[in-house]
Each structure stands twice: as structure tokens, then as C-alpha cells.
Subunit: 403 residues, 2 copies
Amino acid sequence: MYRILTLGVAAIPSDTSRIYIVKQAMEDYGIDLLVCRNPENVLFLSGYWPLTGWSLILIPLDGDPVLIIPRSEIDYVEDSWVKNVYTYEAERLEYTWNPYRFIMEILEEIGLPRGIRVGCELGMETIATGTIAGEASYACTPTFDLLRKVFKAILVDATPLLSKLRMVKSNLEVEKVRLASKIASIAIEKLIEAVKEGLRESELAALAEYIVYSEGIGFEGRVKRARGFAFIMSGINTSRAWYPFNISTNRRILRGDPILIEFNVCVDGYWIDITRTWILGRPTDEQEDIFNTLVEAQESVYRSENPGLRACDVDDIARSIVRARGYDRFFPHRLGHGVGLRLHEEPIIHPLSTTLIEKNMIHTVEPGIYTDRYGLRLEDVVLILEKGVENLFPRYKFLSLSE
Amino acid sequence: MYRILTLGVAAIPSDTSRIYIVKQAMEDYGIDLLVCRNPENVLFLSGYWPLTGWSLILIPLDGDPVLIIPRSEIDYVEDSWVKNVYTYEAERLEYTWNPYRFIMEILEEIGLPRGIRVGCELGMETIATGTIAGEASYACTPTFDLLRKVFKAILVDATPLLSKLRMVKSNLEVEKVRLASKIASIAIEKLIEAVKEGLRESELAALAEYIVYSEGIGFEGRVKRARGFAFIMSGINTSRAWYPFNISTNRRILRGDPILIEFNVCVDGYWIDITRTWILGRPTDEQEDIFNTLVEAQESVYRSENPGLRACDVDDIARSIVRARGYDRFFPHRLGHGVGLRLHEEPIIHPLSTTLIEKNMIHTVEPGIYTDRYGLRLEDVVLILEKGVENLFPRYKFLSLSE
């Protein structure tokens, strides 16, 4: 017999409509029971962000959701709107590590119907990293086999359903992304103060991450876990700063160098992803022209994007500006991607993506122009409103950093 | 037709015997072709540490190994002893993201036999995070289905084979872990200087990570990528600093507090995992007694561990010291775990683990004693020698930090 905690929901910031929407989608996809383990999906479906990746959320089409979590994470489940929580201990001195045994026993005890269609994370191959940032755990064959066995289930890939639902953020989620954005902007401001000739790329990147960790936790009394990942590329290294190549080296920054920061900040499971590029000293005419092109491409999106457009239309709004300025062959990547529960999620803002833009989507707007000598990119994040968009990272943009 | 790069191996630090050992194990396990995608396994099998997690290593029982990698990672494959490298671009403006299509085409082109037994990462559910530390990619059903389809294969879980082989490190691997250890020790020394009353847990943790990133990259001219993950727990928070609970809060450190750092450092794909506990000011008699017990438990392992012992015997060497001092009921977790290609890997040093200790294994030795008021833990890492062990993190241990 496992202990069930029945938590009082009154005190919990709840996203009550979420479960309703999820169940509707499950019906559309022919799923009787949704079982997720990847932390970002557990967070999406329960409001609780697992620490270690060994928690399961179960959403039966008929019935209340259930969480199964390691006992050590009990303090963190308070953030959830799920009332029924089972806990287990995967390892003790009396037995070696085996979470499956306990998860299996708990699933047996819950006693859901057999012979059902269970939706799970079959098709996922990328996850956001979590609190124990050096190691990430995810659902793979052992978990899928366990679900098959316990429920005598036909497994269905729930990834398309989850990707689709995750695209549209709740107000609670938007607030979390705003917090990540605020912390990122504090770090960027301090970084601008700190940049000087002779500093290494890695020193600057490390500073950005330092600020997020040291100031993010406890921020406004609302943040439990915060972490930043920063990559600084300078000089010639910026010429290959296109997705998915991000790395900081020990190159020292010189006067006249372009300095590009790719900056990912996570606050309690919610992400923001931004890029700034500066020139240390006076930009060349070409650099200024490229920078102004990027700003104009972004501004054009802010003015013209609306719910109902296709993602490819949004890409084209920016790309046509870059094309008109003659730089289109130096802008080799998509304009952006969704962000929130992971650094990169749907919708993809690509010339061939026909996904319709909807209210409460959040995506990056990141035009970049890369010559063989240097590259410049600006990346901001927009929230789609009823009409128009809001830039969630509204920091003043400029190119030249004086020493 | 995909471009194959045939790299000159002469200039590459090679682990030539590795492929031979792997093929022997494949024969034992009845595997005709080993295909891995999780970065730590690609590193183990090829010497190249992927940036994004979308690279495959193929090792046919009869034939030379092959790498399939995103074109953007071409500079990093230079570290590999694998000569045949295929590259692909998963996304361009002319098509949306689809790595599977290209991987499939390359696999077809390589033209290995069909109807074979393919070993892959079916049973893995935890990976080390990589360079793009905020996001991790791994092999799951889409990759497995692709292998089934291309090779008309029976898939075999290669995780037990890989776990077993990974336990015993090559000399090249030991050198990488030594580098991680050196960088970690620099950070620990600076941290000791920095600790003072009033600092937040998160500030200290952020500082430790800052030092690894800013000083690790380029270290001794040998390190390309370095990253640290630090968690600081202080005062009452140390009482729950047992595995797997690691988190820094914004609690300010007070005089008399125990301060525990759980510190994970990764250098070019190789990890070290250490813990230190200090008291800011003068320890109580009980704290001193607990600390001395931990030191004695560790020293006892350093004196007595040898190849040929079972892991449970090693656990018992330390635990019997803790028991003799009357603290055994406050030491609730295993003594240690393997470390190297991931933070936690085999062998597990647990009272019930019968794995035989072998030369060139690397594992942690981390006795911890947790009362309901505070917890102390020391975690070091040993390399098993022909006879005896070497402590890879030989920093002087002391309890009291003066302000």
C-alpha cells in the first residue's frame, strides 16, 4: 500500500482549464489514458516541475489525474494542481535502485481499466534539462514496456498532441516566461557593463550564467529554481553562430570585434531564449547596415504579426526586409521557434511552416546575417496577443559598446 | 550521395584497443551491428563528443566504424579515431527539420547486411547533458524504428554491454577525468576564499560554476568544453542533502552553519563528482566527531580497496567505520557510484552490489551523515590501480572555515 497525499488545491495557483483541454484532445486522438514522464510534460500537465525526471503524471479520460513521484521531491509537488500524489523510494540500503518496481506496484494499485489505449512520449527525442542539470532522465523503452504490461495497453504516440497543446500558453505560463525574461534582462544589462577588451568569450558567458543563478533564485519572492546557459562568440567565431552551433571558446575579445551572446534562461521550468550582438568600439558601415536590417526585420514582425497568419508568412515578413537589403543569402536559417516549456518547441517559424499563429503562442524572432568574416543576430521573444504581439524582452537595442 | 570524410588517424589521440574490446563484447551478446546516438556513448565509442545529440556511431562486427554527424559539428569530429564520417544538414530553408530522412539515406548508402541483430540504446533512460546544456537529445522510438526498418533488424538492448564496458576506463579517459578534477579543485579553492557570512547559497553555487566555465575552457591548452554544476546547501538545508536531492536556495549563510557543496564538473564529456562540507566558524563537538568519522571512513577505503573486491565489500569498509562510531542509522545511502562518461554510472557501491572492482574503474566514495538539524558529506573519487587506489581529488580536507 502506497501513501496517497491528497493535497488541498485551494492554495495552489491552478490552471484548471488545462486538464479539460487535454482531455478533449485525448478524445480526438483516441487516447484513454495519458502517461508522461519527461519533466517538461509533467510540468505542463500538473504544474509541478520534477527535479530528477522520475515522476509520472497520469491523466485518465474518465477520472482525476494522478502523480507518482520520488519521495525526495515531495516539497516541490506543492506547486501542482493535481490532488492525488503517490510517492516511492527507488533505492534504499535494503534494495538497489529500481524505480520500475514501485511505479508498477503503484499503477497496479490505482487500478485503471486494462486493454486501453495509452498515450505516451514514444516519439520524443529531445528534452529540456532540469534541476540536476548535468544529467537528464527521460521515458524510453523500459517505461513504455511497463505501461504496455500493466495496462495491457496499445501505446499511442502522444507527442503530436502534446506539441500542439503546448504551443498555446496559459496565463500562468506566460507569467513564468516573463520572469525568465526579467532575469535574463538583468544579466544582459550587467554583461554590457562588464564587456571589455581582453576578456575571454568563456569569462563573459560564465558571468551571464552567474547572474542568473545568483540573482534568479528567490527573485521577487517567486522563483525556486533558475539557471542560465550562455554562449559567447566573438570576432570570426560569430560567422558560424548560426543554429545549432553554439560554443564559447577562450578567445580574447579585441577592439572592433563583434560579440554575440546566445542566452537561454530557465525559471522553474519555463524558458526564454534571446540573442544580442554588439561591436566593441565603432562598427563599420557594413556592420551598421546589417544591424539596422536586423532591427527593421524584427520591427516589421512586431508591427505585422497577428493571430491567423501562417508561420511561413511571419518568416516572410522578416525575410523580405533582409532580401530588400540584399542580405538574404546570408540569412540561412528559419526566423524562429516556439519557446516556453523548452528552449525549442513548436511552432517553427520557417519558410515552409504552415502552422497557424494563435493567441498566447510564444516564439522567437531571430534574424541573423552571417558573412565569412563575422555574423550578427538579434533574437527576441514575442507573445501573440488578441491583436498584434508583445515583445517579452523589450531591452533597448544598440550595436556599439564603448569601452 | 553523401560526402564521406576520410580523416587521417595519425594525428588523433586514439584508443585503438577500444573497438577491439567492443567487438568482442558484441560477439558475446550476439550483436552484428552496434548503433549508438546518446552523446556519452558516441564519445565512448568514437572519441568524438557530439554537441547536439544528433550524431550516430555504427560499429559493424565485420568492418570499420562509421560516424554520421550534423555538418555543423565537423570541427569536433577531429577528436575521433573513426575514419569514416558522413555529414548531413537536418534543416535548410528548402526543407523543414528532418534528420531521420538523411540518416536513413546515409544508412542505405553504407549498405550493411539486412536481417541482422542491431544493438542500440533501448534500455537507457538517463543521459549526461552536453554542450547545448539546456536541451538534451537522445535515442528513442523514432531512431529505433528507423534502425528496424533500414536493417530489417531485430533490435537488442545494448545498454548492459555498454554499462559493463564503460566501467573500465582507458588511459585517455583517466586523463580527461584528471583534467575535470584539476578544474574542480581550482574552483573549490577559490570558493573557500569566497565563503563569508551573509552570502546566499545560490551566490556561492553560481561562483563555483563561473570558475569552471571561465577558467576551464582552454585549460592547459587541452580543454575545448567545460561546465560545472554546483549545488550549495547550508544550515538546516544540509539535513536533506542526500541523493538525489540537490538544490540551492536563496538562504543566506550564517556563522556556525554547515555548508555543503555538491559539485559536478564536465570536461569534454568526462565528469567528476565531489562534495565538501564546511562549518563557517567553530564546529560543535558532534560536528567534529561526524566529520572525523567521514574522513576515517574514506581513508579506510583508500587503504583497503583493491581489484577483486565486490562493490558491497567496499561499501562495508566505510559503513563499518560509521557503524562503530554509532552513526550508521544517519548514513542512509550507498557509498558511491561510478563516474566518468556520466555523473552516475556503474559500478554502484551499495551494500547489495556484487560487481567486482577492477583496475581502471573510477568511482565516488561519499559517506554522509544526516541528522535532523544538519548533514555532512564528503565525496571524493578514486581510480582503481593494479593494487590499491588513487584519490583523484586529493584536496586537503578540513571542517572549519574561518571568516
